[in-house]
Each structure stands twice: as structure tokens, then as C-alpha cells.
């Protein structure tokens, strides 16, 4: 089995996955260990994400391999172990709803209740999830009479309410509107951070992945081309073509400043973050002082100045030195900066590069707007 170089993953993997399976001309040949948290499968259409997810859930029995979830072996072609899907306690949000047409939305949501008290969602969480997904008006309806997005929401709720040991979500938010996504994503973060529920997350949206993923698996033609911690891979230029240049960037580690540099800050709805590279200002105030967090900074949101700039609306200006200058055709170049111990990526025109006379080692100032650091780019760590 082709196990790609696996970059530093926590000692005891929450999920250890090795599977080879042929489907006609396609062959899934995937091996990875995932840290606790959200493992994102990322790859182009037809890469094998759903196939992998189904192998994990036991909906498909691989020709070869071994799958273990936090110690328990779910499948092993050697020993012939194959735990049937209904004993795996893996909740699955299917790419296509797969709701039960003969049951009302309510009964769809409560379907799993019948099976073992431990799994059944209690009233509280039922109300909570119905509210989260805006299903209240739909409870007595039949899936056949729901809109695409409504069906998707019911499917999500059904899986969440089954109180799974692991959650598989196959493009769960694809057909939902921005506002709804903005409501659901924090909830998923909650599952990840508070309950510590492991999630296998399939998505084409780098926004979702970069926000949720702990481990990222980049797939291509059934194989993992890269497996590793999300922040590492998301900052890896060699993967930018897969992500789309727009989203390329780095993750900054930081902590909310205990004592704000100036008192006006809070009133103006800003929070100061101490990073290895200096202070950054976020346009939000709901972060507890001292809390550590990860900031996603897109290369294209970073500007470079030769010296600190006065009278500019961009608040965040960090002293930096040019670490490296990427090459490649086109008008743009990625410039790697070092702000203290933090790497930053900036995407600028070659013209600016020339004008500013930037070269490795040269001191400069990295400028980024608070506006560019949206809510979705910030995630709490612990």
C-alpha cells in the first residue's frame, strides 16, 4: 500500500485507515493516520473521497486493508474482521440526502433513537439541533416535499442526533446558503473542540476545510498525495494549485493579549492578538484574554511596504524580513516573510517586487487589513 510521507501526527492516531479497493477502472489506495479532531478529505471530483468515506463507515468492504478507530479494529482483511456498519457507530451525512421517504422529518431525525439508549439524542439536543438547522417548520413534513437544502439539513440533523462515535460528512454544506453555513460551521467546531467528536469531512470548499480541519488529506486518483496537519498543508505552496491560488496562505499561532495595549480598543470592537510577529488587531471582542488561537492569513491579503506606513486604514503592520521569493510565471509572486518566529506569505506583483527592491534578507513591513481577517479565519485552539 502506498503510504505517503505522513507529516508529524499525534502519537496515538484517533483513526488509522489503510484500504485498497478496485471499482471498475478506479482503484482506491489510501492510507492515513488522523489525529483527533476533523480529518478533511480534499480532492477533485472523482478522486475517491466518497469511496474512502464508505469504506470507513463499512458501507463498502475493501479488498485489502485495515481500519481502526481509536484502538478498535473496524476492518482487517488479514484477520477477516469486518464490523457491520450498524455496529460501528459512525454517523454518515450522505452526499445525496438518503432520507426515509415514508417517514416524517421528525421521525427521520429520531430514527436512531430506537437503537441503544446511549446513541439516542435526548430531547434537549433534539431541540437544539432542530433550531440550529431551522427544521422546526418542517418537522411534520415528508422529505419528498422538501427543498434540496432542506433535505440536506435534515440529513445533517439525522446524523448528529445518532450520537455517533465518529461522524462522516460528505459535502454536507454544498447546497446550503452562506448564512446557514455560517450558523452550522461554529456548531461543528463545537463538536470538534468541546465534545471532541472525530469527524471525517469531505468538501470542495477550502473555506470549510481550512476552518474545520485538524488533519488534511489531499487526494488524487484514489491516492493521498499529501497527508498532514491542516496548517502545514494549507501553507504549502506546492498544494496551491489544488486549493486555488486565492485561498493560499498560512496559519498564524497567537494568543489574545491579556492587557489591551490601549483602552479604546474594546470600545472600537477590536481585539489585540499577540503573535510571534507582533500585535495583530481583530475586528471582534468575543475572545477571552489569554485564549490561544489560529489565524488564517491569505497570501493575497498581505501587502509589503518598505517601511511602516502612516495614514493608511490597514491597522496591522508587522516588522518582517524577506525569507524567500517564489518563482513561476505570471504577474504575481509569492514572497515568504519572517515576522519574528512566524512565517507569512504575501502575494504581490512582480512589478511591486522590483519597485520595492525586495530580496531575501531584506527588512520590510507586512501589512494586512483587519477586515481581511474574517470570523471564519479565526479558530480557537487549546
Amino acid at each position: 500500500m502506498s503510504a505517503p510521507a505522513i507529516e508529524a501526527v499525534s502519537a496515538t492516531p484517533a483513526l488509522s485507515f489503510r484500504a485498497r479497493h478496485r471499482l471498475g477502472a478506479f482503484t482506491l489506495d489510501l492510507a492515513f493516520d488522523a489525529a483527533p479532531g476533523v480529518t478533511a478529505l480534499f480532492g477533485r471530483s472523482g478522486a475517491g473521497k466518497t469511496t474512502a468515506a464508505q469504506a470507513l463507515a463499512g458501507l463498502l468492504r475493501p479488498d485489502h486493508g485495515r481500519i481502526a478507530l481509536s484502538g478498535q479494529v473496524l476492518f482487517d482483511s488479514e484477520t477477516g474482521v469486518f464490523l457491520p456498519p450498524h455496529r460501528r457507530r459512525i454517523g454518515y451525512v450522505f452526499q445525496e440526502g438518503r432520507l426515509f421517504p415514508h417517514l416524517s422529518v421528525r421521525r427521520n431525525l429520531l430514527f436512531s433513537q430506537r437503537f441503544s439508549a446511549r446513541r439516542s439524542g435526548d430531547a434537549a439536543s433534539f431541540e437544539r439541533i432542530v433550531a440550529l438547522l431551522g427544521l422546526a417548520p418542517l418537522l411534520e413534513r415528508r422529505p419528498g416535499a422538501l427543498s434540496g437544502g432542506e433535505q440536506q439539513r435534515v440529513a445533517i440533523g439525522r446524523a448528529l442526533l445518532s450520537r455517533p462515535a465518529l461522524l462522516v460528512m460528505d459535502e454536507p454544506l454544498a447546497s446550503l446558503d452562506q448564512a446557514r453555513k455560517a450558523e452550522i460551521l461554529p456548531y461543528l467546531e463545537g463538536l470538534r473542540d468541546e465534545i471532541g467528536l472525530p469527524i471525517l469531512y469531505v468538501s470542495h470548499s477550502l473555506e470549510e476545510v481550512s476552518r474545520l480541519a485538524t488533519t488534511l488529506i489531499a487526494m488524487e486518483r484514489g491516492r493521498a498525495i499529501r497527508v498532514g496537519p491542516a496548517e502545514t498543508l494549507l501553507a504549502d505552496p506546492s498544494l496551491f494549485p489544488l486549493f486555488g491560488r486565492r485561498e493560499a496562505g498560512v496559519m498564524l499561532e497567537g494568543r489574545v493579549a491579556a492587557d489591551p495595549p490601549d483602552e479604546a480598543l474594546r470600545d472600537e470592537g477590536l481585539t489585540a492578538i499577540e503573535t510571534g510577529g507582533g500585535l495583530l488587531y481583530l475586528a471582534r471582542t468575543d475572545l477571552a484574554p489569554g485564549a490561544t488561537l489560529r489565524l488564517r492569513v491569505r497570501a493575497q491579503d498581505v501587502m509589503i511596504a518598505s517601511a511602516p506606513v502612516e495614514g493608511l486604514s490597514a491597522l496591522n503592520q508587522l516588522q518582517a524580513t524577506v525569507a524567500a521569493i517564489g518563482e513561476g510565471g505570471g504577474a504575481m509572486v509569492e514572497v515568504a516573510l519572517l515576522c519574528g518566529d512566524q512565517r507569512l506569505l504575501a502575494r504581490i506583483t512582480k512589478r511591486s517586487l522590483r519597485r520595492l527592491g525586495l530580496s531575501p534578507g531584506a527588512p520590510c513591513v507586512a501589512i494586512l487589513k483587519a477586515a481581511a481577517l474574517g470570523r471564519r479565519d479565526v479558530q480557537a485552539t487549546s
Partner: protein, 231 residues
């Protein structure tokens, strides 16, 4: 012409009891056979399939005769059942029910089987990921989905039972009040010159009854269909 003799009433009542019993009693077996044929992968599946269709292929008289050989007092199965459970088919209404059930079986199985084959296995997969085991999956997903097929199978079996005659009369003869079902009565009337009018009357009665069952089943089926209808 529409006064009905007690004997006729007896026949009507008997036919209803026999048909209902045959239908209800054969449903579980029909369901099992349909499942095996639709989903099963086992040796001798073709054989089972053939066996199920046999009553359709054989002339009813032959079926009846074979039943007599097997389930008669002297027949291996018949003797066994009588010895073990005191169940007797020969010349009893139970025998008529058995004959009717056997004759209706192929129809019932096919109807159920078709609707099983129409169920999307993906739904059962979904149920599995929600913790439903084999049985739960069947009971909570498959069964409700195939309800229309079950109803169709039941009504076919019932209708067939209401009309069945060749096998029944051969197996358990036509003992008034015990095994003389409507069709048997009709037949014997049709065999006697001048019995036509009476035969016609009984025929109309049996049609009315079967139609009733038919309409009920249709309504039930429409309900079930509507429940699983895609938008």
C-alpha cells in the same frame, strides 16, 4: 331470484373464511420466499423459484392430487402433522385453505418480490449507519416501502382463493359446510341442467365480495404509495 338459500350462505361464509385464512397464513411465507428470491444468493435459488411457480404451471387437478398425496391422512406430511400437532387437512376447511394458499402463492410471491427489487438499497445503508441492524432495517425501512407490493400480493392471493376450485375440490372434495366453497358450489350448479340461474347468482355474489376486497386494497395501496411517493 335474489333470495339466497342457507346452503349458499354456508358456501359464501366458508369461501370468505378459507380465502382470508389462506391469504393471511401464506403472507409470512410469501414474504420470506420473495425476500429469498429478490435478495438471496444461495444454491438452489432457481429450484425454489421453480417450486414457487409450480402451482401456476400444473393443472389445478394435478396440484390437488399432489396435495392429496402429501397432506392426506396417509400422506407423509399429513400423517406427520396429524401425529405431532393433530392438524388434519383432508376433507377439512383447513385443507381448502391450504389448497387456496398454494394456488395463490406464486402470485403473492411475485408481487412482493417485484416491490422488494424496487427498494433502493441505499436507504437500508443509511439506516445501518444510524444503528439499525438487519431486522430493524427490514422492519423500519424495507417493509413500509414494499407495503403496496404486500397489499397487491395479498389481494391477488385472496382473489385467486375466492375463485380456486380445481385443486381444492380434488384435494378435499366438496363437503357442504365443510369444504364446499363458492366456486365448487357454482361448478356443481353449472354441471346440472337448469342450474344456471342459481350459478349466476352465486357468481355475482363472489364477484361482489372479491371486488370489495379489491377496492379496499386499492385504497390502502394508494395511501401506502402516497407515503413513499417522491415529490
Amino acid at each position: 331470484m335474489f333470495e339466497v338459500t342457507p346452503e349458499e350462505w354456508a358456501a359464501v361464509r366458508l369461501s370468505l373464511i378459507v380465502s382470508a385464512t389462506a391469504t393471511v397464513a401464506s403472507l409470512p411465507f410469501g414474504l420470506a420466499a420473495a425476500l429469498a428470491l429478490a435478495r438471496g444468493r444461495f444454491w438452489g435459488k432457481t429450484l425454489l423459484n421453480g417450486l414457487v411457480h409450480l402451482p401456476l404451471i400444473l393443472p389445478p387437478v394435478v396440484t390437488g392430487y399432489l396435495l392429496l398425496l402429501a397432506f392426506g391422512r396417509q400422506g407423509p406430511i399429513g400423517a406427520f402433522l396429524e401425529a405431532q400437532f393433530g392438524i388434519v387437512f383432508a376433507f377439512r376447511w383447513t385443507g381448502a385453505a391450504l389448497a387456496a394458499a398454494v394456488m395463490g402463492f406464486p402470485l403473492m410471491v411475485r408481487a412482493i418480490r417485484l416491490s422488494i427489487e424496487a427498494v433502493d438499497p441505499k436507504l437500508e445503508q443509511a439506516a445501518a449507519t444510524l444503528g439499525a441492524g438487519r431486522l430493524a432495517r427490514f422492519g423500519l425501512v424495507t417493509a413500509p416501502m414494499i407495503l403496496p407490493g404486500l397489499l397487491a400480493g395479498a389481494v391477488l392471493c385472496f382473489a385467486k382463493a375466492m375463485g380456486e376450485f380445481g385443486a381444492t375440490i380434488t384435494f378435499v372434495s366438496a363437503i357442504p359446510g365443510e369444504t364446499e366453497t363458492l366456486p365448487a358450489a357454482i361448478y356443481s350448479l353449472a354441471q346440472t341442467p337448469g342450474g344456471d340461474a342459481q350459478a349466476l347468482r352465486l357468481t355475482l355474489i363472489s364477484i361482489a365480495l372479491a371486488m370489495g376486497a379489491l377496492i379496499v386494497s386499492e385504497i390502502a395501496a394508494r395511501r401506502a404509495q402516497a407515503r413513499i411517493a417522491r415529490r
